[in-house]
């Protein structure tokens, strides 16, 4: 079996660590985006009645 010099071994390990960090960051980004999407502000139609009538809940 070919002996691989230590500096190359270490360089590959660094690449492996980069892959790990990339994976973790990607997963974290996906989770954050999913959370933001789930909690996005949904526009709600104003509670008004047509024809200028009384608003629901308004004091008489």
């Amino acid at each position: 079996m070919t002996v691989i010099p230590n500096p190359i071994v270490n360089a590959r390990r660094v690449a492996g660590v980069i892959l790990l960090l990339t994976t973790l960051l990607t997963v974290a980004a996906a989770v954050i985006l999913a959370a933001l999407y789930a909690n996005r502000a949904v526009p709600v139609a104003p509670l008004t009645t047509s024809g200028g009538g009384r608003r629901p809940g308004a004091l008489r």
Binding site: T2, N6, P7, I8, A11, R12, G16, I18, T23
Partner: protein, 860 residues
């Protein structure tokens, strides 16, 4: 038994027939059964037995035995003896028929082989034995019936039944056969029962009594069997439908339907299927059939309900679970296979193509003996390997179909998830208590949902893997780009720094400027290696460091320690000074004619500077070439002994510089002292070959005072001892100046911007002369440098008549200074005393000329 033995003794040898006959009758009245009668006949022999006339009595005895205890093997043996021609003499026809019947019984009661022969024999015997004794006939018919019921091939069974049932008085046989059939249907395997049923059905098409057997006996017997046996019988019939159907078609002369089961169910007059599914037309059996029908209906309902529940509830759960499992397994497989690529020491690097080519001992190898930098390309090969390998493995793991993987490695045992699901489903179906069909109906939809779930999980996993791979690829690309830019930037910064500090390196051997020195890996060269790292700079072999073929890590930048490596000239491959490119260089040629004392002066100057370093560590002196240390030490010891015997004569070839580092910090310089042989200055053409002249920062012009004819003549005794140089100093200096003007830039100017230190050597000899004054003998206490220089200059013009030489030097060099030194006195503590005036003269420090030259370039 004793009587038999005695009788046998008595009859042997043969007595008169009359005597024997009477004795035999006598014996016979006393002896019983067949076995002994048989032995008696055997003993008597055929002739004697015939003569005795015992056969009729024995036959009567045989019949009597059969009536009382039934037929036995002994009866069969006795019958065999009785049917012999001699023995059977005297037997009545009825008796002989009984004997033959016993033999037939023995035949069918034995081995049931030779079916064809026996079938014919059975038919004949059943016809012939109508008038034998009823007990014997009963045993014979029972034996034939048992033999028939034991026939295991449908064809044999059918043929036997057809043959026997066709003869008269079949009722007796059918009764016996019925009992035997009942036993066979109780005991035999499902396959044999299926064959028997086929035979019965095929015969029943022609014989109504056989149909009755089917309806009653077979129905009763099969209803006692386990349900699985009935299923197996049906399965056996299905599997062998073509062969068996041929049998039946031949038997009933009808064209067959498409398959056996249809034919079975639709056969007119017979309801064999009812035998299996709704046996006997009896009230109990009808009730049982009804119960079975309800059972199957309930079972069908349960199956339908289970199928509905599976579709509505189980299938979605299976889908979700399969999706999650596929997703998890795919991501884990991706992680493990990716990690295996970047695992480091255990992962192969052959596919990266980063290893240096093998060392070629036959000649210089143009390739660098180093591994390519992982982040200058090979990392992308690993990346591609990771993406390709992991995607294949993910597919193999989730939906692979077996065989070898894409890279030839064997698959993991257990198969893919899809295979496991399918095999598990098949196992569940096979082992289902409700039968495979019902289990298939119930579990088919969940299984399909599981398969779809696996596919969905795989798709989600592939999307995630693709996203991660793309991001990872972008990050790797950024890292590679940064590495490339950083390498370029670092190269530029180092070059600018060297230029700003004025640092360069010139080969001390070939004197060419070493723009990009080669370096040697200390680890390789210590083991006999001879390869050079030709471009040890930030680049494709590494930004900060590179990895040598031997695995040693070499810095690519001076600031990281590259200066510690041994450099080599890229032109002549000779070693460069140590600590290369750490200080500006300063080149000083020492010029003089032959035997003027250049080498002695130079060694003394170096020794003096080393002494100063020892006395004052701030002075900083360091050899830059370890190979010259031995020669230097030898010369040093010789000069210390006031001898020149070990001061080597300089050879008239291209001089190699004597390198030393002087000074500290920014004033540190790498000094090149060139000690060219005086012969080189005797020829103008050879002066032109001195390549180091163009680098000259200062010149030491060594003048032997005894080379002047006037001095040599006046101090003749001393000059001989001083090994006076015979070379004309003016000629030597003139040729050197011409060569220097051609080499140094700015030669067109009247004066060269180079300092010249004019050194009068051998002053110790001048001090010993009474005829010629010492240059400094008229100076007072503590003369200044200017006074000393003026005194030395004056001595040259006055004593040496070298006014022209002085003028020439001063007109050539931008700055001149004159010195008077003695190499030998450098190593003496006492000051020399002038022989003329008896006054102590203090000569110049032998290192002073060099230090004066260097002071013009920032070194104190």
């Amino acid at each position: 038994m004793g009587l038999i033995a005695d009788a046998v003794q008595l009859f042997s040898p043969a007595p008169p027939a009359d005597t024997v006959s009477r004795l035999a009758r006598l014996i016979w009245t006393a002896i019983p059964p067949a076995v002994d009668a048989h032995r008696l006949l055997e003993t008597l022999g055929d002739e004697t037995a015939a003569a005795t006339g015992l056969a009729p009595s024995i036959c009567q005895r045989l019949v009597a035995d059969a009536r009382t205890a039934g037929l036995t093997d002994e009866d069969a043996a006795l019958a065999r003896s009785l049917v012999k021609p001699m023995t059977s003499r005297g037997l009545a026809a009825e008796q002989l028929l009984n004997v033959r019947a016993v033999l037939t019984w023995a035949l069918f009661n034995g081995s049931p082989q030779y079916a064809e022969v026996l079938k014919r024999r059975a038919v004949d015997d059943l016809n012939a034995f109508a008038s034998v004794e009823p007990e014997i006939r009963r045993d014979v018919v029972t034996a034939i019936a048992e033999w028939t019921a034991g026939l295991r091939r449908a064809e044999d069974h059918r043929d036997a039944l057809l043959a026997i049932s066709g003869v008269p008085r079949t009722q007796e046989f059918m009764s016996a056969y019925r009992a035997s059939l009942e036993m066979a249907l109780d005991r035999e395997s499902p396959e044999v029962i299926a064959e028997i049923l086929i035979a019965l059905v095929s015969v029943g098409a022609r014989r109504p009594e056989v149909n009755e057997l089917l309806d009653v006996v077979a129905g009763d017997a099969l209803s006692r069997r386990r349900k699985r046996d009935l299923t197996d019988i049906r399965g056996y019939l299905d599997e062998n439908s073509e062969t068996l159907q041929g049998l039946l078609i031949g038997a009933v002369d009808r064209s067959g339907p498409r398959n056996w089961v249809e034919w079975w169910d639709t056969l007119a007059g017979i309801q064999p299927a009812s035998i299996l599914c709704q046996p006997p037309v009896r009230s109990a059996q009808l009730r049982k059939g009804a119960l079975l029908m309800w059972f199957y209906l309930v079972l069908l309902g349960l199956v339908a309900m289970a199928a509905y529940l599976c579709v509505v509830f189980v299938a979605p759960i299976v889908f979700v679970i399969a999706t999650l499992i596929a997703l998890g397994v795919a991501l884990v497989e991706f992680a493990t296979s990716s990690a295996s690529v970047f695992r480091g020491a255990t992962a192969s690097i052959d596919h990266l193509k980063m290893a240096p080519p093998p060392e070629d001992p036959s000649g210089p190898n143009p390739a660098e003996p180093a591994y390519r930098s992982y982040y200058f390309g090979p990392v992308f090969r690993d990346y591609g390997y990771m993406v390709s390998g992991s995607s294949h493995k993910v597919l193999d793991r989730v939906i692979g179909s077996g065989g070898a993987t894409h890279d030839g490695s064997p698959r993991l045992s257990g198969g893919s998830l899809a295979q496991r699901l399918y095999w598990g489903w098949q196992g569940l179906v096979r082992s289902s208590p409700g039968g495979p069909t019902a289990a298939k109906v119930i579990t088919w939809v969940p299984m399909a949902a599981g398969m779809v779930g696996l596919g969905a999980g795989l798709v989600v996993a592939c999307v995630a893997i693709a996203v991660v791979s793309m991001v990872f690829g972008l990050v790797l690309g950024s890292v590679v780009l940064v590495s490339v830019l950083l390498a370029m930037l670092l190269r530029i910064i180092e070059k600018i720094t060297l230029r700003m500090r004025g640092i360069s390196i010139e080969c001390p051997s070939c004197h060419a400027g070493a723009v990009s020195p080669w370096y040697a890996c200390p680890h390789c060269w210590s083991r006999g290696g001879s390869e050079f790292h030709r471009r040890l700079i930030p680049g494709s072999y590494g930004t900060f460091f590179r990895v040598c073929r031997c695995g040693n890590k070499l810095p690519t930048l001076l600031i990281l320690g590259k200066w510690k490596l041994q450099g080599y000239c890229q032109r002549c491959h000779e070693p460069l000074p140590t600590k290369v490119l750490t200080a500006p260089t300063f080149h000083v040629p020492v010029v003089a004619g032959r035997s003027a004392g250049k080498t002695a002066y130079m060694m003394a100057a170096v020794a003096r500077m080393e002494q100063q370093n020892a006395a004052d560590p701030k002075f900083a002196f360091e050899f830059a070439d370890e190979s010259v240390i031995d020669g230097y030490k030898a010369a040093y010891e010789s000069l210390a002994r006031s001898s020149f015997d070990r001061v080597l004569i300089t050879r008239p070839n291209m001089p190699k510089a004597f390198n030393i580092y002087l000074g500290r910090g920014s004033a540190r310089r790498l000094l090149y002292l060139y000690d060219a042989a005086g012969e080189l200055y005797e020829d103008e053409a050879r002066v032109g070959t001195l390549g180091y002249l163009e680098h000259s920062g200062g010149v030491v012009i060594v003048i032997d005072p005894f080379s002047f004819r006037s001095v040599r003549r006046a101090a003749q005794s001393v000059s001989t001892d001083a090994r006076a140089s015979v070379a004309d100093a003016e000629d030597v200096i003139g040729r050197f100046v011409e060569g220097l003007r051609r080499s140094v830039r700015g030669r067109a100017a009247r004066k060269l911007q180079v300092r010249a230190a004019v050194v009068i050597t051998k002053c110790d000899a001048l001090a010993r002369s009474t005829a010629v004054p010492h240059p400094f003998e008229d100076l007072g206490e503590n003369p200044s440098r200017a006074d000393r220089s003026s005194a030395a200059r004056r001595w040259l013009t006055d004593q040496g008549n070298a006014g022209g030489l002085v003028t020439s030097i001063e007109n050539t060099f931008g700055s001149c200074e004159y010195f008077a030194v003695s190499a030998i006195n450098t190593f003496r503590e006492a000051e020399p005393v002038s022989a003329r005036t008896l006054i102590m003269v203090r000569e110049d420090d032998v290192a002073a000329p060099v230090q004066w030259l260097m002071s013009g370039h920032g070194t104190p």
